[in-house]
Structures are given as C-alpha cells and as structure tokens.
C-alpha cells in the first residue's frame, strides 16, 4: 500500500497526511479551511485549502 502523501509518477493528488505538522500537538488532522478572498458576495462560496488542525490551532501541511 502506498503512503497517501507519496507522489506518484502519474497524475493525481491526495490530502496531506499532517504527520508531525502540528509540532508537539496531537492528534494532527487535515481539514478544509475556507480562504476568504476579501469581501465576497454572500452567496459565493469561499475557496478552500487544506490545513492541519490540532485543537483550535491550524498549521501548514
């Protein structure tokens, strides 16, 4: 079984594993985080990115 984060030679992507991305905090899990591109129309969704979350803290994957 391939590790999810390992890049294959071919196309495709995976969410981050977040392994040891939250410093000493655990558990460290990947979450979707809305990125606000500024004052947006209310009905417009925000783009989302992956971040690693532990407790209330977010970390870069």
């Amino acid at each position: 079984v391939l590790e999810p984060e390992k890049r294959l030679a071919g196309p495709g992507s995976s969410p981050p594993t977040c392994r040891s991305k939250c410093g000493r905090c655990s558990p460290c899990k990947p979450v979707h985080v809305p990125i606000q591109p500024g004052l947006s129309f209310p009905l417009e969704y925000y783009p989302e990115a992956w971040r690693c979350k532990c407790g209330n803290n977010l970390f870069m994957p």
Binding site: G10, P11, G12, P37, G38, L39, P47, E48, A49, W50
Partner: protein, 561 residues
C-alpha cells in the same frame, strides 16, 4: 536650541499632521493627533521604535475608522515606517507617488477604500515590500510590470478594481510570490503557460475578468498551487488532461466556455475539496471515477450539457455536502446510492431528464437542507421517509409527474421555508398538517389535482409570504383564518371550485398586494375595503355570482357605500 534628533522627530510629527490635514472625518478619531508636544509616538494608530537616532514611526494603523479625504504626499516623509494600514476607510484621490520614498516599507494595505487613478510606478521602488493590498478600490490603468522589481513581494492583491490590459507575463517569473489576487477587474489576454513559473504561489485568483483563450496545456506544472480560480472569464477549449497533475484543493473553472468532456483524470485528484466546473459547455457523461473523490465536499457540475446517467459511484463521496447537477441533460434514475451521503447539505438535480421515483434511500441524507428536483420526468409518490429530513428548509418537487396524496408527514419538516409541489399530479386534500410549518415563506401547490377544502390551519402559517394553490379542484370556502396572515403578499387561488363569500377578514392582511381568486364559484360582494379596491378586476373575474366593479359583473355598476 534644537538638537538634530528632536528636529528629525518634528519632521515625522509634522508629516503625521500633514497626513491628518489631508484626511476628513478626523474630528473624533484623531483627537489626540495635535501639535502640542512631540509625543506623536503615543498618537492613535502610531507605533514608534527607537534606534540610535531616537524614536521614529515604524507603523501606522488607521484601518476601519471611516476616514475620508486623501492620502497626503507627506506619507513619503515617514522614512523608517515598515507598515501602513489604512484599509476599510473612505479614502479618495490617488495613491501619492511619494509612497515610493518609504524605502523601509514591508506591509502596505490600502484595501477597501475609494482610491482612484493608476497604481503608481513608484511602488516598485519599495524593495522591502512583502505585502501589497490595494483590493476593492477604483484603481484604473494596467498592472505595472515594474512590480516584478520588488524582490520580496509575497502577497499581491489587486482584486476588485477596474484594472485593464494584460497581466504582465513577467509577473509570473517570481519564485517568492505566494498570493496573487486579481479577481473582479477587466483584465484581458490569455492565461500564459508562464503561470507555472510561480513556484512559490499557493493562491491564484483571476476570477471575473475578461481573459480568453484556453487553459494552458502545462497547467499541471503549477504544483505549488492550492487554489486555482479562473472562473467567470471567457476561457475556451477543453480541460487539458495535464490538469490531473495539479495538487489543488480548490479548482474553480465555472462560468467560462469550456467544451469537450470532463477528463477522467480529475477523478484521481483526491486533494480536491472544491471542484466547480459549472456553467460551461461541457458534454458527455459524468465520469464514474469522480466517485473516487472521497475527500471532496463541494461538487458543482450544473449548467453544462452533460448527458447520460448520474453515476451511482457519486454515493462514495462520503464528505460531499454540496452536489449540484442541475441544468444538464442527465437521464435515468436518481441512484439510491446517493442515500449514503450522510453529510449532504444541498442536492440540486433540477432541469434534467431524470425519470422514475425518488429512491427511499434519499431519506437517509439527514443533513439535507435543500432538495431540488424541479423540471424532470420523475414519478411515484413522496417517500414517507422525508419526514426524517428535519433539517430541510427547501423542498422543490415541481414540474414532474409525481402523484398520490401529499403526505401528512410533510408537516413534520418544521424548518421548511419553501415547499413547492406545483405542476405535478398530486391528488387528495391539502393536509391540515401543512399549517404546522410556521417558518414557511412559500407554499406552492398549484397545477395539481388536489381537491377537498382549504384547511383552516393555513391560518397558522404566520411567516407565509406566498400561497399558490391555483389550477386544482379545491372546493369549500376561503377560510376566515387566512385573515390572520400578517406577512402574506400573494394569495393565488384561481381556477378551483371554491365557493361562498370572500371573507371580510382578508382585509386584515395588510401586506396583501396580489390576490387572485378568479375562476371559482365565489358569490356575494367583493369587500369594499382599501386593499381590495386597489386590485384589478382580473383578480375576481370568472366568478359568475360575484358582485364587483368590473365589466360583466352581475351588479355592475357597483358603488360602494
């Protein structure tokens, strides 16, 4: 005797005072900005730092203070300032050229103002600048290609202005830039293959411009991108296979003129949180392999020319909360597998050619908030399990071939604000339980085969704005309880068999602006109250025994007392 140190302090103090003079609406917010004393370092929004030469302003933060007026050229005299934040005011005028003199500036935020004119070339002299936000102003002209001379620029946000011309290609040859926000301008030209030279960029947003041409074939080389938003331009051509090499979490291609099929390779992009291909000209089937996107929360494919069935594999997208497949040419049945989507919040399948019944399994989608299958060829009855969809606020089954009775259990879906069952073949009575829907704003049961009486419980719909029960076989009287509806604007009951008199209590519905009770068997006199006298005779005609002031009325001319 003034020593040189205090004289330089005075220079900055004087610069701040010039800046204040150039602003308006300062009376309250800059009360402590005055020329008594040299302690400008304690003024509101001013932060100083000491160095060998004494104290000097390093930060000015006057954001969201409702300031008007202009930015004074004196801002260029704050020689050691590192951060200027004037966002969220009402500043007008141009960005002064003198901004380029502040060689130490790292952070410049002038967003959310009314600044006009060009982006001054002098900004390119700010060699320390890392953050430049001019979003949401009225800036015109082109993006200066000299911005590439800022070696450490990490964030460039010029969104929501009126910038024209092409995005300077040289801007893409930047390994430092992390954030490029250009949405909602009037930029033209094509997407250059060079965008993938932005090797440190994670946010690329050119939404809402006038970009043309295809998605570059090498797009998959943009491996640092987390968000790629090229929506609402005039991008043409097919979605390249190479897109499958992207590592993005958000892929927004909607509102362009993309043609061809949805490439299967997108089904391998498991990092996708949001996939939006809506409002293009895509053809062919929805690839079953999209069901592999088990981390995707939002899938928008609506407004294309997609054909074939809804793949049952979409039921494997266990994180899906939004699924919009409406306005395509999809055929076949609604797959029962969609019932596995426990987090599904919105399901929109409207305006396709779907047939067969709504699978009972859909009742397992207990997170469902909006369910819309308007304009298909669906039949069968409403699954009784829908009573379990307690989060549902919007239920639209209109313009299909559903039949059977309207289940009494719909009255349990207490959060409904819209219930539209119009243009089907529903029969039997309107269940009294509908009156439980205290949050209901719109009730449309028109164009069915409903019979029986209008339930008096409709008078309990205290939020209701629109009731449309036209073109049924409803009989009985208009319940006097409808007079309790204080928010109703539109009451449409035409083309039924309702008889009896128009209850005078309807005059209590002070919001009522549109009433249509034509083509029934009503009798008596139209109440001579103000909100009826404003209505056109069209609201009443076709009731042979009804007396009112219109041509052909049994008692015309009718003169109210």
């Amino acid at each position: 005797v003034l020593c040189p140190v205090s004289s330089s302090l005075n220079d900055e103090g004087n610069a701040l005072l010039s800046i204040k003079v150039s602003f308006s609406n300062v009376a309250n917010v800059l009360l402590d900005w005055n020329d008594e004393g040299d302690d400008f370092c304690s003024w509101r929004g001013v932060i100083c730092d000491g160095n060998g030469d004494g104290l000097s302003v390093i930060s000015l933060n006057l954001s969201n203070l409702n300031l008007g007026g202009e930015i004074s050229p004196a801002i260029g005299d704050l020689r050691n300032i590192q951060s200027i934040d004037l966002q969220g005011n009402g500043l007008t005028g141009q960005i002064p050229d003198e901004i380029g003199n502040v060689a130490s500036l790292v952070h410049l935020d002038l967003s959310d103002n009314l600044l006009h004119g060009d982006i001054p070339f002098s900004i390119s002299k700010l060699k320390q600048l890392e953050f430049l936000n001019l979003k949401n102003n009225q800036l015109v002209g082109t993006i200066p290609s000299t911005l590439t001379q800022i070696p450490n620029l990490k964030t460039l946000d010029l969104a929501r202005n009126q910038l024209r011309g092409e995005i300077p290609r040289i801007l893409y040859w930047n390994e430092v830039l992390q954030y490029l926000g250009l949405r909602d301008n009037s930029l033209t030209g094509t997407l250059s293959p060079d965008i993938c030279q932005l090797s440190g960029l994670w946010y690329f947003d050119v939404r809402g411009n006038n970009l043309t041409g295809p998605i570059p074939d090498n797009i998959g080389n943009c491996t640092s991108f987390e968000i790629l938003d090229i929506s609402y331009n005039q991008i043409t051509g097919e979605i390249p296979y190479n897109i499958g090499f992207l590592q993005v979490a958000t892929l927004s291609l909607q509102g362009n003129r993309l043609t061809g099929k949805i490439p299967e390779v997108i089904g391998l992009m498991q990092a996708l949180a949001v996939l939006d291909l809506s409002e293009n000209e895509l053809v062919g089937p929805i690839p079953a392999i999209l069901g592999n996107l088990s981390y995707t929360g939002k899938l928008y494919l609506h407004g294309n020319k997609l054909t074939g069935p809804i793949p049952p594999e979409l039921g494997n997208m266990s994180k899906l909360s939004y699924l919009q497949l409406n306005d395509n040419q999809l055929v076949g049945r609604i797959p029962p597998e969609l019932g596995k989507l426990e987090q599904l919040f919105e399901l929109n399948l409207a305006n396709n050619n779907l047939e067969g019944p709504i699978p009972h399994n859909i009742s397992s989608c207990t997170a469902l908030n909006q369910f819309n299958v308007h304009g298909n060829l669906l039949n069968g009855s409403i699954p009784l399990g829908f009573r379990n969809l307690e989060s549902l606020t919007y239920l639209n089954l209109s313009a299909n071939s559903f039949r059977g009775k309207i289940p009494m259990e719909l009255g349990h879906i207490i959060n409904l604000d819209t219930l539209d069952l119009s243009s089907n073949r529903f029969s039997g009575p309107v269940p009294a339980s509908v009156g439980n829907l205290e949050h209901l704003l719109t009730l449309n049961l028109s164009r069915n085969n409903l019979d029986g009486q209008l339930p008096a419980e409709l008078g309990n719909l205290r939020s209701i704005v629109t009731i449309d029960m036209s073109f049924n076989n409803l009989a009985g009287h208009i319940p006097v309880e409808l007079g309790q509806l204080q928010n109703i604007v539109s009451l449409i009951l035409n083309n039924n068999n309702i008889h009896g008199e128009i209850p005078a209590q309807l005059a209590n519905c002070l919001s009522l602006a549109s009433l249509n009770i034509s083509y029934n068997n009503l009798s008596g006199v139209v109440p001579p109250t103000r909100n009826f006298s404003n209505l056109s005779p069209d609201s009443f005609i076709g009731n042979p025994l009804l007396c009112g002031n219109w041509l052909g009325s049994i008692c015309r001319p009718y003169v109210p007392k």
